[in-house]
């Protein structure tokens, strides 16, 4: 087993050395905030960092303070925070449609083919909504950004999915869908003849076709076949690109940070994701568990001299309040302990914040909790928690 370095230290090393960090996790666990805080941390330490989010509701903009972010990297003003020499922070949001369009442009040779796709109604309606297109475009964009030498580190926030794992599997699904070698076999004859012909390869294909005609109509089917035919010439380019993305994700310079909350179902999801990462031979950097409710009785306090005296009514309320928070802390501790046992990893635990994060200061304060000064050493010296 690897030496038991503190989980924060391992994250810190990754921030200093890796080229790409991908923040994954199910929705609502503070993934965007974590990604932004990690990026800020690395920028303040002197790296040139880009944080990229896939965010229809522009949450990153909220946590980076003000202004709107776009599909192009924008420098974030860090002056007041005294970054180390050379440190800079850039932020952007992924423009799914724009990235898809750019991809089409890159892979089509002639203008006619390009127009055929871009003007295709099916493409227009669905390119942003295609299942997996957010994830696929995120990876596509990532590949492009890694070739941009303005950035030493790219922190990628991933789309909010119900299941964190969707991020890794969506590109395969999208490629499967665009794999015209399978689909054309029932769509192509349609396009060629403009009507249902008997020249379909198999009986199943014929039935599917007849059904498709009955249920979606000729016009739609033609648009659909045009879409696939237009993609036919691009498919090899797409696949080559996808292989590059896979190589990037497996590269030792890429690391995955799994973000979770302290609730059992969320941690189960993180556990599953961890297993899949290892199976796919991708580099796991650490767990960050956000919004952990600590037990107030376990926090150290200076022992005072005076004995407390409060009215009985208040005493009862105080007791109830403490009991409630202890229940919550215990439930969460048990869930986190299960994750530790199952993965043999110690997560970074970020306690619930005093205030919500919605500006750079908040992000910096959040980063302080991820990388607590001094506390880790004390913990290592004490040997236990």
């Amino acid at each position: 087993m690897a030496p038991r370095r503190s989980p924060s230290a391992r994250l810190e090393t990754a921030l200093a050395e890796r080229h790409v960090l991908v923040a994954c996790g199910s929705g609502g666990v503070g993934k965007t905030t974590t990604a932004a805080a990690l990026a800020l941390r690395a920028a303040l330490a002197g790296r040139r960092v880009l944080v990229c989010t896939i965010d229809p509701s522009r949450r990153l903009a909220t946590s980076l303070g003000k202004g709107s972010l776009s599909g192009r990297p924008r420098a974030i003003e860090l002056k007041t925070m005294a970054p180390a020499q050379g440190g800079a922070l850039y932020a952007m949001v992924l423009d799914v449609k724009g990235t898809f369009d750019a991809l089409v442009l890159r892979h089509t040779q002639d203008a006619a083919a390009r127009d055929r796709i871009l003007k295709n109604r099916f493409y227009q309606q669905v390119s942003a909504a295609l299942a997996g297109s957010h994830e696929y475009m995120a990876m596509e964009k990532l590949l492009e950004l890694t070739k941009d030498d303005r950035f030493d580190l790219i922190v990628l926030d991933t789309p909010p999915t119900r299941h964190a794992l969707d991020f890794l599997e969506a590109p395969d699904r999208l490629l499967g869908f665009l794999d015209v070698s399978v689909l054309r076999f029932f769509l192509r004859p349609y396009f060629k003849a403009g009507r249902l012909t008997v020249q379909v390869a198999t009986r199943t294909g014929a039935v599917l076709l007849k059904l498709a005609d009955r249920f979606m109509g000729l016009q739609f089917l033609q648009e659909l076949s045009e879409f696939f035919l237009a993609f036919e010439g691009m498919y090899d380019g797409f696949r080559a690109r996808a292989a590059e993305v896979q190589a990037l994700l497996r590269s030792p310079s890429t690391g995955f940070v799994l973000v979770a909350g302290p609730q059992a179902p969320v941690l189960e999801e993180a556990l599953y994701f961890h297993r899949r990462l290892l199976e796919k031979q991708m580099s796991f950097v650490g767990f960050v568990v956000n919004r952990v409710h600590t037990d107030p009785a376990r926090e150290r306090a200076a022992r005072g001299a005076t004995r407390a005296r409060v009215a009985p009514g208040l005493a009862a309320k105080l007791t109830l309040t403490l009991r409630e928070q202890q229940v919550l802390a215990r439930v969460e501790r048990q869930a986190i302990a299960r994750l530790e046992v199952d993965t043999r990893e110690r997560p970074v635990l970020v306690p619930e914040l005093e205030q919500d994060v919605h500006d750079l200061r908040g992000l910096a304060a959040f980063a302080e909790l991820v990388f607590p000064r001094g506390r880790e050493e004390a913990r290592a010296a004490g040997g236990s928690r």
């Binding site: 309606q125 909010p160 599917l208 001299a305």
Partner: protein, 317 residues
């Protein structure tokens, strides 16, 4: 009062950012409707933690199960719904089976844009239309839908709109338009936005609220603020707690209850209840819609008893 308005419809659709407790709100609403004597169906989509389990019933396996008298839960599996649809439109069993086994069909369904969403919404429409055999009364008086929080909260609701535009003719386009009509009909459907008293969740709830109106032409009927912390200490007591927090006082309130820890816990409670008030005020100021608060529950699990508590709060709102 709020429930009078919501339960007058056929369909209550919940939406909101992931992690705000939509499924708990859905189960509580369903329970509240059942308490009023309605026949209720709670629909979830491919969720691992099923409401039927919370409510003490058996797992759904893609079929409606009666978890309590009058309360049914259904955990829809989109692939299962699609398969069922194929079997429905292909009368010849052998052919249907061959289609279902075909890799083209599998791949197409796995990634075809919006197809899963359309199938799930179509199934909900069918359930809404389902009638009892003899009386011709609706099979369910009320259907509560916990729409999955995949991507943008509106992703699901936008699908029928996109489909009705992309597919002008044929039964699929036709059904997409019928689904859209159902969702847009305020007499039949109420959209409810679920939020939590946190910055991001509130920002998203407000965006969702406006986007539903602007992009899908559906005006949400209410906002449920889940996980609220309410005032526990009086003004004077709060002042006392904050003073004690600064003092050096020590000892125990009673055996096993250390005083400094209890004061820390109280300070946290005060901070949380202030945040709750802050975000509730902001929602109330920003959105012209009924706003209901559900309390944060400090429990080991959220089971039947807890859901009943929340249902009671909704009933009193």
């Amino acid at each position: 009062m709020l429930l009078d308005s919501l339960f007058a419809r056929r369909l209550v659709v919940l939406t909101g950012k992931g992690g705000v407790g939509k499924s708990v709100v859905g189960a509580s609403l369903a329970l509240a409707a059942r308490e009023r004597g309605k026949r209720v169906l709670l629909v979830e989509v491919a969720t691992p933690l099923e409401a039927s389990r919370r409510l003490g019933g058996p797992p759904s396996h893609g079929r409606a199960v009666e978890v309590q008298p009058g309360l049914h839960a259904l955990n829809l599996d989109p692939q299962g719904v699609m398969d069922e649809y194929v079997r429905h439109v292909v009368p010849i069993d052998l052919v249907a089976r061959r289609i279902l086994a075909s890799p083209i069909y599998r791949r197409f369904f796995a990634a075809a844009p919006g197809l899963k969403e359309l199938m799930v919404l179509g199934k909900i429409m069918v359930l809404e239309e389902a009638r009892r055999r003899l009386s011709r009364e609706p099979l369910y008086d009320l259907i509560v839908v916990d729409a999955p929080a995949t991507g943008h909260g509106l992703a699901y609701l936008k699908v029928p709109l996109a489909a009705s535009r992309a597919i002008p003719v044929g039964p699929i386009g036709h059904n997409a338009r019928r689904i859209l009509q159902l969702l847009r009909d305020p007499a039949r459907t109420a959209l409810v936005v679920v939020a939590a008293p946190e910055e991001m969740a509130v920002v998203e709830a407000v965006e969702l609220f406006h986007a539903a109106e602007a992009e899908v032409d559906v005006v949400p009927q209410a906002v449920v603020l889940n996980g609220c912390h309410e005032r526990r200490f009086s003004e004077a007591e709060e002042a006392e707690v904050l003073r004690l927090a600064k003092s050096e006082a020590d000892g125990e309130l009673q055996p096993g209850v250390p005083f400094p820890a209890a004061v820390r816990a109280a300070r946290r409670q005060i901070r949380r209840r202030r945040l709750t008030r802050f975000y509730r005020d902001r929602l109330a100021r920003t959105l012209d819609t009924p706003l209901v608060s559900l309390p944060f529950l400090f429990r080991e699990t959220l089971g039947r008893d807890e859901l009943r508590t929340l249902a009671g709060v909704l009933e009193a709102a």
